[in-house]
Structures are given as structure tokens and as C-alpha cells.
């Protein structure tokens, strides 16, 4: 700062002041931006934008099984420039699947992935959507007599066979099992659940050793009644003819039955075959509280559903049936 003639130069002094003030303002700016980022207001939209809109309508969207299917469908669809929206069954008003179909049709979606739970008017809505130029794909439970373009799920005959193959050896070795209850939400004669029940029943009745000893009963879980599952399960487990083995055909029922067995202190007395490998179900397997569980590949189901609907949107054609992988896992598989 010292000049040759001994005078102090003004420049560095002013420059120092200016630099300090500028640094202070950079600091304030950083604080400001951090606050705005925290409020998530700097960028109004951070989500990806897509070309197509697909609605996914299922009976129990909160189910871990459906959440997983949705996750895989969404991921696969994103690669095809499609967005999959999982329709909620409503907050203030409880919507039926038909209502959700009406909403989706009116919203002008490009495609619909729907689980046919057998509710009233759903088939008409599938046809209505199709007539409106919306491609519909059914998942898990088919609606073959509609204008849906494809079905993604298990073949019920194959599933029934899988259950029978696993059940018969168990029943032969464990002679204490005399009554089997099969909980089903969809009791339509042409529904998947009934098909599975029917196949198991046919196989058991065809077996000489078991036909007289074992009785299999279908227990319907009412869809129209809120929280009806637990009520029906407890009634069944406390009933006069107490089942020694329970078969569940959906993940929500599996969890409810398992919890009821624990609550009612029936572990060991009542055995169960579950559905889907949710953490609770896997826990039950590990503790030997569950014989086995049917695991349907949610990845297959999600990805195939997305593929089917987007193919149909793009080309108007797709396979009419996509088979997903399914297998039973027991406590040995989860150790």
C-alpha cells in the first residue's frame, strides 16, 4: 500500500471494503437460496413430463402387493414415455372401481390397467372406455368377456394346480388337518379365486385318501363392508367348525388372518398358506407360523401391464395374455 513517496494508495483500501461487502452479499444470497430451496419454491415443478397418461385401478391400492406392481409398472412405463397414475379409492368419498373407471374415462386418459374384482358395472365401464378409444388391460383377475385388449396375471387353472400340488403332500403327512377354509374376495363363479378354489376342491375330492377326511370351504369376504375382513376371519376361526388350515388368496387377507391367529393365540393350531411376500408374511414364515406363501412376480405383472397397455396405445395391438411367474416359498426359502 505504501508508495515510493511514502503516501498510502487509496485503491487497495477501497478494494478491500468493496470485496468485504461483496462477500457479505454472496453469503446472504447463499442463505436466501438455501431457504428458498428448503421451501421447495424455487422450481415449481421437478417431476418428469410424459406423453401418455395411464390410469391403474385396483381394489386395494394401499396393499403392498399392488404398491409393488404399481412401482414396476410405473418404471416400465416411464421408459415408454408413459405415466402411470395409481387411482386412489377416495378420501372423502369411497369410490368403486366403476367410479374410478368413469373418472378415468372422463379425465381423458390414454390407457387403463384395471383389476377386475367382479364389482358391479365394471365390465360395462371397460367396454365404455374401449369405445371411447381408451386401451384397457386387466391384471390379476381377468374380464375376458369385455373389450379389454389384454390380461396380465396367473392362469387360474395353473394356479389351482400349483395349490393342489403343494397341498396334497401336506394333507397326507399331517392328518390333523380336516377342515380347510379358503378366504376369497371375488366369489364370482368365473372369477380367478373361485377357479382356484374349485380346482383345489376337484383335486382333493379326486384323491381317495383325502376325499373323505378333508373338507374344503370357501369363505367370502364382503367387498361392500368396510373392515369386513377381520370380522369374517375371526368369525371363521372361532366358528363351530374351526379350520385347521386357512388359504388366503390376497395379501390383505393374509395379513389379517395372520394377525388374528396371533391375537387369538391359535398359532400351532391353525396353519395357513399366504399370498405375496410382504415383510409381515416373510416374518411369519421365518417364525414357522405360516406353511408357505404364493409369490406372484410383481415385477412381471407391472412391466407386462405397462407393456401391454402402451403397445395397444401405440399400435392398437398387443398379446391378449401375459403370464406372470408365480411360485410358493416356505420358511426354508427365507432363512
Amino acid at each position: 500500500m505504501e508508495k515510493k513517496d511514502g503516501k498510502r494508495s487509496i485503491g487497495p483500501i477501497v478494494a478491500t471494503g468493496v470485496i468485504i461487502i461483496v462477500l457479505l452479499f454472496i453469503f446472504v444470497n447463499l442463505i436466501y437460496n438455501r431457504i428458498i430451496d428448503e421451501a421447495n419454491m424455487s422450481a415449481p415443478g421437478t417431476g418428469e413430463t410424459y406423453a401418455r397418461h395411464i390410469a391403474m385401478i385396483v381394489g386395494s391400492p394401499q396393499d403392498e402387493f399392488w404398491q409393488d406392481v404399481y412401482k414396476h409398472a410405473k418404471e416400465d412405463a416411464a421408459e415408454r414415455d408413459c405415466f402411470v397414475e395409481l387411482k386412489e379409492t377416495g378420501n372423502s368419498t369411497v369410490y368403486t372401481l366403476s367410479d374410478l373407471m368413469t373418472i378415468s374415462i372422463a379425465s381423458g386418459v390414454d390407457g387403463i390397467i384395471v383389476e377386475n374384482d367382479g364389482s358391479e358395472g365394471l365390465k360395462e365401464k371397460i367396454d365404455e372406455a374401449s369405445d371411447a378409444g381408451i386401451q384397457v388391460v386387466t391384471v390379476l383377475n381377468d374380464a375376458a368377456d369385455t373389450k379389454r385388449v389384454s390380461y396380465v396375471g396367473l392362469n387360474p387353472y395353473t394356479a389351482g394346480k400349483m395349490y393342489s400340488e403343494k397341498l396334497i403332500p401336506i394333507l397326507k403327512s399331517d392328518k390333523s388337518i380336516k377342515n380347510i377354509a379358503v378366504f376369497m374376495k371375488d366369489d364370482r363363479v368365473d372369477g380367478n379365486d373361485f377357479q382356484i378354489f374349485s380346482d383345489i376342491n376337484t383335486e382333493l375330492m379326486g384323491n381317495e385318501e383325502l376325499a373323505d377326511r378333508v373338507t374344503i370351504t370357501a369363505v367370502r369376504i364382503p367387498k361392500e363392508k368396510a373392515f369386513g375382513t377381520e370380522e369374517v376371519v375371526q368369525e371363521t376361526l372361532e366358528g363351530e367348525i374351526k379350520p385347521e388350515l386357512v388359504i388366503c388368496l390376497d395379501s390383505m387377507t393374509t395379513e389379517t388372518v395372520y394377525q388374528s391367529i396371533i391375537d387369538m393365540n391359535l398359532a400351532g393350531e391353525v396353519q395357513m398358506i399366504g399370498y405375496y411376500d410382504s415383510p409381515n408374511t416373510v416374518g411369519a414364515l421365518k417364525r414357522n407360523n405360516m406353511l408357505m406363501t404364493l409369490v406372484i412376480s410383481t415385477e412381471d405383472m407391472g412391466a407386462y401391464a405397462s407393456q401391454a397397455v402402451s403397445d395397444a396405445i401405440e399400435t392398437g395391438r398387443t398379446n391378449s395374455y401375459y403370464a406372470v411367474n408365480a411360485d410358493f416359498i416356505s420358511s426354508e426359502d427365507v432363512r
Binding site: 478491500t16 457479505l24 446472504v28 372423502s92
Partner: protein, 444 residues
């Protein structure tokens, strides 16, 4: 023309303008700080205000939807012209409002909800239009069916708008709280920043002020030095011609009387005397040189006045190399000769004593001549106080005192003692010891 740098322009600015620039710098720094902080806080307040505007728009949309439904119902019920025109008006309003909703397919729940509401609103209006047209065409079945479809959609839209409103409200509430906190943080930060800017500018002010003031102080000091030097040179210049004339006269007289060796000695001493005068143009000299000067002077005087001036010396050789201003002792001795002993009939003497007084060196010129009254002594000191007066006193005693005082920066450097008339006079000089080395150090 050579362009001047900012530094040069600054150097040339008058002090008043420099201070003005300094104040402007502080003012602008504070103003800019305030402005920037104000803009930021303003931005935050705007954001805060806009947080719930989305909810207000949705409420408007809901009101508009209700109006369409009411007008449609009224027309289907009573089929009057007013209801129809109201229906078309409300339909147009509703259309404008729902078209502000997003139509993009974005992976954001709110955006997707907006898109669904928009799509359902279009379907609702289409069904409502069909119902109204069927009513106008008296097609009862068609208008009832379309009315039912429209009502179903109306309920779905209402539900969706409520859900969206709630979602927005929840997300906005979070934003609102965050922004409110942000606003408080910014307010505190603003105060801190202003204090910091103030502190920085105030910290810089002394440096800037020094930058302005220091050249003035330096100039002031240099001027004082120059003035001192000028005064010294002025005082010295008074001495040279004063004595030169007398000496030349003495030389002439001596030459007239005899042309022998003494003359040559005399002239040699004269030469030494003047050489010293010329050489010692500067104010510094040693005591040795000063004593020699006095010896020469006395010799010249003895030659001049053809009589022996009784001059005795008592010199401490150890201090002879110490420094003092030139042309000090000779005027004092001259003073003793002229005012002390000349014209005295009785034997008069002049004593020169140089002795080591510890920290100081004491030089005393004492005569046994006419002596001085206290008034006379005071008068000499009073004259010496006013050095700007040209030396009209003849002997230059005031000149000597002034120079000594300036040189040593002490008032008591010279003292004059006399016990009264005919009792002789003693001039005592006390000077601090300053050897050659010290002088060089202080002088550099």
C-alpha cells in the same frame, strides 16, 4: 494527452472533495446493501402472499362449477331463457377457469390431479351441453341420461377439487411456515449485514481519512523544516558581512604599517577565518573548529588593535569533537571584546572555558569588562525571541541565542551572568553531547 489514473485524480482532489467522496462511498455502500436486502425480503413477502393464491383459484373454480350446475338444473327444470343465458355465461366462465389448470402429464400428484379435473370438466360440460340441447329438443330420455352423467361428473370434480385443495393447502402450509421462518431469518440477517457493512465502512474510514490527512501533515512538517533552515541561513548571512568589513580594514592597516612575516601570518589567519566562514555555510561545526575560529579572531584583533587582548583558554580536549552550530563562539567573544573590554583602562581579560559537564558540555566566555545590568541582559533575550527582525543590534547576540535554541530545541541553552556594571560578564552555553556518529544518525 496522457490519461491520468484514478490514483492521480484522487491525489489532485481538494480535501473537501475527498471527504465528500469518502462520505459518498459509505452512503452508497449502505444504500446498495439496503436495496439488495429490501429486494430479497420483498421477494420473500411476494412468495408468502402467493402461497395460498392457488387455493383461492381452486375455490373460485369450485364456485364456478356450482354455478354451471345450478344454471343447468334450473334450465332443465323450468326451461326459461334467463336460465339458458346464465348457463352459457357460467359455462364460459368455468371453461376459462379450468383451462388455467395444467394439462401436462407430469409425475407430480398435484399436476396429475389438475389434469384430471381439467379432463373431467370438459367431459362435464360436454354432458351438460348434451343435456341442455336434448332439453331444447324435448328429448326427455336423452336429457335425463346426460343430466345424470353430468351430475356424476359434477360430484367427481367437486371431490377432486376438494382433494386438490386439501393437498395444496397441506403443501402450502409447509411452504408458508418455511417462508415465514425464512422471512424472520432474513430480517435478522439483514440487520446483521447492515451492522457488518457499517462496521466495514467505519473500519475503512480511518484508513481513508489517513490517506487524505497524511500528505497535509507531511507537507506541514517539511514546511516547518524549510522555514527553520531558511531562518538559520538568514541569521548566518547577517554575520558574514558584519565582520568581513572590519577584518578587511585591519588587513589594510597592517599592510600599511609593515610588510613583514607578521603580515603574512595575519593574512593567513584572516584567510582561515574567511575560509571557515565560507566553508561552514551549513550550520554544523565542531567545538574544535569554533575554538580555532575564536583564536584566529583574537589574533586578528590583537593585530588590529596593536595591543595584546588578554585572552585565556581552559579547554577540555576530550569534548572538542562534539558538535554545535557554527559561528557561535566568535560573536560571543566579539561581544566581549566590543562591549566588555575595549576602552577599559584597567587590565581586562577574556576567558574561554570548555569543560565536560557530564551529559552536557559547558562553554563559558567570561570577561572582566564593563559588565551588564539585568535590564541589558533581559533586553538581549527579548530580542532573540523575535528572530524575524533583521539583526540591527550589530553584534548578533540575539542571532546566536536564536540559532542555539533552534538547533538544540532548548530555551536554556545560553545564559548570561553579570553581577552589575564594571563587574564583568559571563556567557555560559550548555550543549548536549553530540559526537560525529550521533549527528550522522540523526541527520540521515
Amino acid at each position: 494527452m496522457k490519461r491520468r489514473s484514478i490514483g492521480e485524480i484522487w491525489e489532485d482532489l481538494p480535501v473537501a472533495k475527498k471527504i465528500l467522496v469518502e462520505m459518498l462511498f459509505v452512503g452508497i455502500a449502505l444504500l446498495v446493501s439496503n436495496m439488495l436486502l429490501y429486494l430479497r425480503i420483498n421477494d420473500l413477502v411476494d412468495r408468502l402472499n402467493s402461497v395460498y393464491s392457488v387455493n383461492l383459484n381452486l375455490t373460485d373454480l369450485s364456485d364456478s362449477l356450482n354455478e354451471v350446475q345450478e344454471n343447468m338444473y334450473r334450465y332443465l327444470e323450468i326451461r326459461d331463457y334467463d336460465s339458458l343465458s346464465n348457463y352459457y355465461r357460467s359455462e364460459e366462465e368455468f371453461r376459462q377457469q379450468y383451462r388455467t389448470l395444467s394439462d401436462e402429464i407430469v409425475d407430480e400428484p398435484v399436476k396429475i390431479m389438475e389434469r384430471n379435473i381439467r379432463g373431467m370438466s370438459e367431459s362435464f360440460l360436454a354432458a351438460a351441453d348434451r343435456a341442455v340441447s336434448a332439453k331444447r329438443g324435448n328429448n326427455v330420455d336423452a336429457y335425463v341420461a346426460n343430466y345424470e352423467t353430468a351430475m356424476k361428473l359434477y360430484n367427481y370434480i367437486g371431490d377432486s377439487v376438494s382433494t386438490l385443495n386439501r393437498e395444496q393447502f397441506i403443501s402450502n402450509r409447509q411452504n408458508y411456515l418455511t417462508l415465514q421462518r425464512a422471512l424472520r431469518t432474513m430480517e435478522i440477517t439483514s440487520v446483521l449485514i447492515l451492522i457488518a457493512v457499517m462496521a466495514v465502512t467505519i473500519a475503512l474510514l480511518p484508513a481513508l481519512t489517513r490517506n487524505i490527512i497524511s500528505p497535509i501533515v507531511e507537507r506541514e512538517l517539511m514546511m516547518q523544516n524549510h522555514l527553520k533552515e531558511a531562518q538559520l541561513r538568514f541569521l548566518q548571512s547577517q554575520i558574514n558581512p558584519h565582520f568581513l568589513f572590519n577584518c578587511l580594514n585591519a588587513g589594510v592597516q597592517l599592510a600599511e604599517m609593515e610588510d613583514d612575516e607578521r603580515t603574512s601570518v595575519f593574512l593567513e589567519r584572516m584567510a582561515d577565518f574567511f575560509r571557515y566562514n565560507v566553508k561552514k555555510g551549513n550550520e554544523e561545526s565542531t567545538i574544535r573548529e569554533e575554538v580555532e575560529m575564536v583564536n584566529n579572531y583574537i589574533y586578528i584583533l590583537n593585530v588590529r588593535f596593536a595591543g595584546e587582548i588578554d585572552f585565556k583558554t581552559d579547554i577540555d580536549d576530550s569534548v572538542l569533537d562534539c558538535h554545535m552550530p557554527s559561528m557561535i563562539l566568535q560573536p560571543i567573544v566579539e561581544n566581549s571584546v566590543n562591549h566588555g573590554i575595549r576602552g577599559q583602562e584597567a587590565d581586562s581579560s577574556i576567558f574561554l572555558t570548555v569543560r565536560d559537564g557530564g551529559d552536557d558540555i559547558e562553554i563559558i566566555v567570561r570577561d572582566t569588562g564593563t559588565g551588564m545590568t539585568e535590564e541589558q541582559i533581559n533586553s538581549i533575550f527579548e530580542k532573540s525571541g523575535n528572530i524575524s527582525e533583521s539583526g540591527s543590534t550589530g553584534i548578533g547576540m540575539d542571532n546566536v541565542i536564536s540559532r542555539l535554541r533552534l538547533f538544540f530545541d532548548r530555551d536554556d541553552v545560553l545564559e548570561i551572568y553579570s553581577e552589575g556594571l564594571d563587574k564583568g560578564t559571563s556567557v555560559s552555553i550548555r550543549i548536549p553531547k553530540r559526537e560525529e556518529e550521533d549527528v550522522q544518525n540523526t541527520g540521515s
